[in-house]
């Protein structure tokens, strides 16, 4: 789970991509990503949404933009990898939903820690319908974290399907975790685990909210 933790940390950075990037002949996917990330930051910096009572509205706003940026279906498919092919359409749909919840759970609390980190767009390579956007987050302490976004072209929109932080791929991380669970127990067990975690998380969230009152 150590990778997950680190992934979480860096996801702060994902959310923190900032205007500071130098606009050096950036291509289409970079431009698109930049705009979307600026939207996330705007939401996170909104003083109205920062108030305690508005935590849910803030989350909903971030989630809405995240749905624009990410292709959760593709990420889920790639993470489940060869086990994806033997799933029925219904199972697939359910899994994508659970996986999106899992990502949200893992990262949303981190994303809310955003504190003015700086983002540079370092480079872009396009290869057919795939693109890699290299970015670099600089924290206030001056630590630099390289984050690469892997994007796929869907229609005329570029969607992110993998995030590579410090060289560690999100899809690769989940792929090996899911594979281990499915091989040692079963797919049903994996779904059960994910569902339990989700319910547990909402339980804790509810408690937090009631205790705050």
């Amino acid at each position: 789970m150590a990778t997950l933790g680190r992934g979480g940390f860096a996801f702060v950075a994902v959310a923190t991509l900032l205007l500071a990037g130098t606009p050096v002949r950036a291509g289409q996917p970079t431009e698109q990503l930049r705009v979307e990330i600026e939207q996330v930051i705007k939401v996170l910096d909104d003083p109205e949404l920062k108030k305690d009572g508005n935590a849910n509205a803030r989350r909903a706003a971030v989630r809405r933009i995240a749905n624009e940026i990410f292709d959760f279906g593709e990420t889920a498919k790639r993470s489940l990898a060869r086990h994806w092919t033997s799933r029925t359409p219904m199972e697939r749909e359910e899994f994508v939903q659970l996986f999106a919840d899992l990502l949200e759970r893992s990262y949303i609390s981190k994303i809310e820690l955003y504190g003015g980190e700086k983002v540079d767009y370092v480079g872009e390579t396009i290869d057919g319908d795939q693109a890699t956007i290299k970015t670099k987050i600089t924290t206030k302490q001056g630590t630099e974290i390289p984050i690469d976004y892997r994007m796929l072209k869907r229609g005329d929109k570029w969607l992110v399907y993998d995030v590579i932080i410090e060289g560690v791929s999100l899809v690769a991380n989940y792929r090996s975790q899911f594979n281990k669970i499915i091989v040692t127990s079963s797919y049903a067990e994996l779904v059960k685990k994910m569902r339990d975690k989700q319910e547990e998380f909402y339980g804790v969230e509810k408690q937090k909210r009631t205790s705050q009152r």
């Binding site: 001056g142 993998d162 590579i164 410090e166 060289g167 791929s169």
Partner: protein, 146 residues
């Protein structure tokens, strides 16, 4: 007569010894004649840190091929892999450079994907993970806080 027989026996032993040595050096040196079997795929890494020609390529810990060569291309590392012909790689397979144990040798791990498309011989693995450089990470957390 007796002498000739002894000579022939000794000669045979010497020839056998040379053959055994040849076999050993081929086996240990992992030399492949005529390019070896299997097919070739390419992968580009920002850095290969410690991966060498002859390093193993594994799926689930099972050797399925070897690194044939590593060249520099646009200041990135272009790795040529020779994969056993029975092994099919999906288009979304991920190639990661990993370390055996904490300080062991580097090897290339492939994690099979779920795509219907298969990488053709001479094709490219597009999803790659460069090795994690522990020294760099360490120095980041040591010197990071300026």
């Amino acid at each position: 007569m007796e002498r000739t027989r002894v000579n022939i026996t000794v000669g045979l032993f010497v020839v056998l010894g040379v053959l055994a040595l040849g076999y050993l050096s081929v086996k240990l040196g992992r030399v492949s004649f005529l390019g070896g079997g299997g097919y070739v795929v390419f992968a580009e890494f920002p850095s290969v840190g410690g991966l060498k020609p002859g390093s193993t390529v594994e799926i689930a810990g099972v050797e399925v091929g070897r690194v044939e060569s590593i060249r520099l291309k646009n200041y990135e590392a272009l790795v040529t892999l020779r994969i056993d012909s029975g092994v099919k790689l999906q288009e979304d397979s991920i190639a990661s450079i990993k370390t055996k144990g904490l300080i062991g040798e580097r090897y290339l791990r492939l994690s099979p994907g779920g795509s219907d498309k298969i990488i053709e011989p001479g094709g490219r693995i597009r999803e790659v993970e460069a090795p994690v450089d522990f020294e760099e990470l360490l120095s980041k957390y040591i010197f990071g806080k300026v």
